[in-house]
Symmetry: D2
Subunit: 177 residues, 4 copies
Amino acid sequence: MAGSMNKVIIIGRVGQDPKVSYTTSGQAVANFSVATDEGYRDRQTGQKVERTEWHRVVAWRQQAEFVANYIGKGRLVLVEGKLQTRKWQGQDGQDRYTTEIVADNIQGLDRMPDGQQPAQQGGYQQQGGGYQQNRPQQNRPPQNNNGYQQNNNGYPEDEDLGPAFPSEASGMDDVPF
Amino acid sequence: MAGSMNKVIIIGRVGQDPKVSYTTSGQAVANFSVATDEGYRDRQTGQKVERTEWHRVVAWRQQAEFVANYIGKGRLVLVEGKLQTRKWQGQDGQDRYTTEIVADNIQGLDRMPDGQQPAQQGGYQQQGGGYQQNRPQQNRPPQNNNGYQQNNNGYPEDEDLGPAFPSEASGMDDVPF
Amino acid sequence: MAGSMNKVIIIGRVGQDPKVSYTTSGQAVANFSVATDEGYRDRQTGQKVERTEWHRVVAWRQQAEFVANYIGKGRLVLVEGKLQTRKWQGQDGQDRYTTEIVADNIQGLDRMPDGQQPAQQGGYQQQGGGYQQNRPQQNRPPQNNNGYQQNNNGYPEDEDLGPAFPSEASGMDDVPF
Amino acid sequence: MAGSMNKVIIIGRVGQDPKVSYTTSGQAVANFSVATDEGYRDRQTGQKVERTEWHRVVAWRQQAEFVANYIGKGRLVLVEGKLQTRKWQGQDGQDRYTTEIVADNIQGLDRMPDGQQPAQQGGYQQQGGGYQQNRPQQNRPPQNNNGYQQNNNGYPEDEDLGPAFPSEASGMDDVPF
DNA sequence: TTTT
DNA sequence: TTTT
């Protein structure tokens, strides 16, 4: 713990609307991808090339709820966090590894598009209502999280038990995003 | 390229002596893993837990040669770079993805262990000799790099052609490190 | 040089249009300030407080020309660089110190306001013309830089000789921005 | 607060033993300087030059106590934090400005020198004893902090009232370190 | 696979 | 004022 640092800072565009779900213990989790671009000059041709790198981001609890309410496809975001590689089982039973940025600081850097304002959506600041989601793919209440495929999601028990993404798990074994 | 940042900074211990090889075009590449530690308090038990995260690092050219000469197993290092996910084929023919830190700044933060000084090893600063390797696992001269399994290594053509690690490639389909 | 890092990353709003000038050796230098905001909760009152921090940024050469063409008052910018404290003489003859971020990466994060497009301004990409400035406060051609008050600007000789800001120097002894 | 980042990461050597004191409200504050080195090639002579940059660091509360117990002159440290410029009055009554790194993460990167181990010193982990200091220059109990020169220290009220460094204050008006 |  |  001393003599140790694990820090990532990326700025880029969100690829798709984040997917938000809940662990069995009721913790919110948000997953999304961010594209960063890099321009460089090809050593053979001397041509300018643009290269896009995709990053998987995972956010927990308050950060996840912020993501659910304010971050959508196409937004320019700042993500600060740490790298974490988790292990999961492919359909063929073999181990796979996915590296993600576990975010501890997420900010939108551009104006929120119209129709995405928290007031219209019902944000998590609303009083008396608890947290309310309204984009379809986020609508997974904790009680629906019945726990099949437990411990197949790659998230360590200590991070928060329960299957994070039952439905994605099966579709994730070949494509990381 | 504008409105974009892709930055990683880690400090940790090197797990094994780096593996250094050459692309067919003669570029040096070094690969090694770095462990970062994180202490946190378990939410259920309230116990202090130590968690180790492993990071794959790849260094090119000058950085690779620095690594070959100065970085060995157990050293405390600073690595600054960018995230890059590359695609490769498992033995079953399926796509796999590995995320690495492509380093642009590597520094040793502790004293070099005895028997690892560049003077004893023949460093790359030596005059008249060019670059000389001497640890067994690094001893892969460019001319031996005959190019089978080309484009199976996951490194983009533009980064520098040629198979980076023919021998590791086959052993890599299940374990990322 | 080994075991050393000096890194700053800020994101914030530019306070005033950058001031661009030239050293006697013809190097472009840009100076501007960036505001970062921080929200925190007051420990006494429990109230939310917003606090603004101002940062001085200096950019050299290509970075300075980029700043001259694309960065103006009010823009949201990313600045990556290193900290540098320089010494200068106040009017009372006493030493003063100013800490700046010497930028090696500057990016605009929002859309450029209309009337600030490089095409209308004549950007530094223009062909056949070399570098051309057009905002009044930037218009200080190298040949006007006649060198009085040399070595009073606080910039080290090695960074590039010559007085960076003869005119500001005298006004700077009490206020850093 | 959104669209804002203020982040500094430095690695370097501590110049002198930190100075630790207490605000009138009993909060610990530690101050020390860190040297970072930078090697570069002089553009005129082509010679390699080493340049040292000094950074002022301030740490509060738990971080300050960690500093008091573990960080001494000559140690290699990692400091992560934010930039803050504070205003203070010189003896001539004029405003001066000092930029510091307000640390939120401090780590020692080398082995602690003998005679500096916390066990010999009595660390702040000791039970039943509260925090105990033992290096002379740190020995400034809160009750001695009688508050003269209040609001002359440049620390904002909200950070924690009271004179941070009564004794240094008078010596600080011309030299920042 | 490192280290404290 | 540090250190290699």
